[in-house]
Symmetry: C2
DNA sequence: TATTGTTATACTCTATAACTATA
DNA sequence: TATAGTTATAGAGTATAACAATA
């Protein structure tokens, strides 16, 4: 939206005596208003904060939830496969799994086919816990729906389906 | 979308002899498919990477661009006001401004009204540079449009307008 | 007392590189 | 030689707390 940027003239806000108006509503964003990335980033921050809050009691963050969900749906995957599928660095997944394994939610099993790799599985406890996490995540999703509206949420999922 | 989650059955992927299929396309996401946050996060990563790449020659990242744009549109703002408006921690803005000031794009001017605060302005060089950054950011925005489509991008901006 | 800018610390996340053990 | 998992490091980004100067 370059047109918007070009049309917006700076509101003078001199430091030499003019009234300071610093309310968020009063401060223009200029070109940022036309940038999808800015809106998406702000929304993503809101949505993650709601997720973290809604799953606060069970201490599960979005990335942990995504790892558990993919392992639950695809038992036996290697770490590389999970990392690639979710766009996580394999080095980072090591620490994520260390934490989840310490909490007895996930287990690494040495593969007999390829002894370099680990087959990932949920523990029985992990499967039970994940069911609970999914209920809480669904509650979070209803918060999203309340925030932006049912129709808008569905449009959003449709528009961004290609990025999953 | 709990229904989706409940309906999806895990595809067995035993580590004891079954063929390993680890292509990203073949690995189900289960409940993640119904979560707006997951799609939004993946899209946000794509969009920031494209922004960073498109503005790579001028070495400007999304947060730096947002700070410069807001200062350009509202000269004389305090650091607190910029931080609040953009949702950046004031402690973090200090470092961002240190960097932008070293690059002679921004200057801090001691306020005469409130000697605790700094009025922020673009330098002449900063204003010229920002005009160039905006042209590159518009190019990035056209990449977004190419990626998701003109209509979808406009719908996205409309849906998320409340988060800016 | 409260606020602005600053410094400092810790933790998350991203991006690399290098090492080991296997293939 | 290439790959899977691991370890380590550095840079963003987020979240706090505390301090000096000023209100």
């Amino acid at each position: 939206m370059t047109a918007t940027a070009a049309r917006t003239s700076p509101r003078k806000r001199a430091s030499n005596g003019a009234a300071r108006r610093t309310d968020a509503d009063e401060i223009g964003l200029d070109a940022l208003v036309g940038h999808a990335g800015y809106a998406v980033r702000r929304f993503q921050i809101w949505i993650f904060q709601d997720f973290i809050k809604t799953l606060g009691n069970v201490d599960i963050r979005p990335t942990q939830y995504s790892v558990l969900t993919v392992i639950g749906a695809n038992p036996g995957l290697s770490q590389m496969a999970v990392a690639k599928r979710l766009g996580i660095e394999r080095a980072r997944l090591v620490h994520l799994l260390d934490s989840l394994e310490q909490r007895k939610l996930v287990k690494r099993i040495k593969s007999k086919e390829d002894r370099r790799s680990h087959a990932l599985h949920l523990t029985a406890q992990g499967a039970t816990a994940l069911a609970k996490f999914k209920r809480l995540a669904a509650e979070h999703e209803r918060n999203v729906e309340t925030k932006i509206g049912k129709e808008n949420r569905e449009q959003l999922l449709r528009i961004l389906a290609g990025f999953t």
